[in-house]
């Protein structure tokens, strides 16, 4: 049986719960199984800062679904899935896009980094990448400060000797 592979990127509201996300996945899977199709992959990308406000939301969560559909039911399954996103899940799904991909292509792909994956703590990020921040010079463990201390000691010693010599002279 010949199948066509599709890919669908779904943008949902940021307040989506785990139950709602699994419910969305199950309904897609059920719809596909009713026509002997299959859900190949279902990835959660995570939270993103959107490029512009969508339905008054600054943030959103992306899901990527990939599925195989038999050639006979191609048109009606896509139509029904679109209706599902637009009507039943209208409160959850903000945007969605659907496109067909070659079925022999590898499933790996490149995607932008989500907010969950980004390092939150600045100090920790700098430590991991061995970078100095703006407060580089203020840190106590810098070698520069050790050098200045040495100079100070020498100066103190020099002053003390001078004082001694002056006393002797008197």
């Amino acid at each position: 049986m010949q199948t066509q592979r599709y890919e669908s990127l779904i943008l949902t509201v940021p307040e989506i719960t785990n139950d709602e996300a699994t419910d969305l996945e199950r309904t897609i899977e059920k719809k596909l199984q009713s026509v002997k199709g299959s859900l190949v992959a279902y990835d959660r990308w995570g939270k993103f800062l959107l490029a512009y406000q969508v339905k008054k939301n600054e943030y959103g969560i992306y899901f990527l679904a990939r599925f195989d559909v038999p050639f006979e039911h191609k048109a009606d399954v896509i139509k029904e899935l679109k209706q599902l996103f637009d009507l039943k899940y209208n409160a959850l799904v903000m945007r969605h896009v659907m496109c067909n991909i070659p079925s022999d292509a590898p499933l790996s792909y490149k995607r932008p980094q989500s907010l969950d994956e980004m390092p939150k703590d600045v100090d920790q990020f700098l430590k991991e990448n061995k970078m100095g921040g703006f407060n580089q010079r203020r840190r106590s463990d810098r070698p520069e400060e050790v050098v200045t201390e040495k100079i100070d000691e020498q100066d103190v010693v020099g002053d003390a000797e001078k004082e001694e010599s002056s006393e002797e002279g008197q």
């Binding site: 490029a51 512009y52 792909y109 995607r111």
Partner: protein, 93 residues
């Protein structure tokens, strides 16, 4: 019988040639130079597509980026898909 016409090198043609030469080296298309990059053109690969946008979020013209029209068309379609999904901005103030 076909009449043969000799192309006369007139003043106007010479000026045109000089103008073209004055622009220096012609820009190269990134996708014709290494065809592996063509598979990178995808609406999910936002970081790559950002190279073909201006600071304002407009699509960079092929006149400036040097991209051939075949790949410029592919790029434009994928950028517009990414815009609809709020991955890329329509405009940035």
């Amino acid at each position: 019988m076909v009449k043969k016409v000799k192309l006369v090198l007139n003043d106007r043609l010479l000026k045109k040639r000089a103008r073209r030469a004055s622009f220096g080296v012609r820009k190269q298309c990134r996708f014709t130079e290494n065809p592996e990059l063509v598979s990178e053109i995808n609406y999910k690969n936002v970081d790559f597509l950002k190279q073909f946008l201006t600071e304002r979020g407009k699509i960079l013209s092929s006149r400036i980026s040097g991209t051939h029209s075949k790949y410029q068309r592919l790029l434009a379609v994928e950028i517009k898909k990414a815009r609809a999904m709020a991955l890329l901005p329509y405009n940035r103030a």
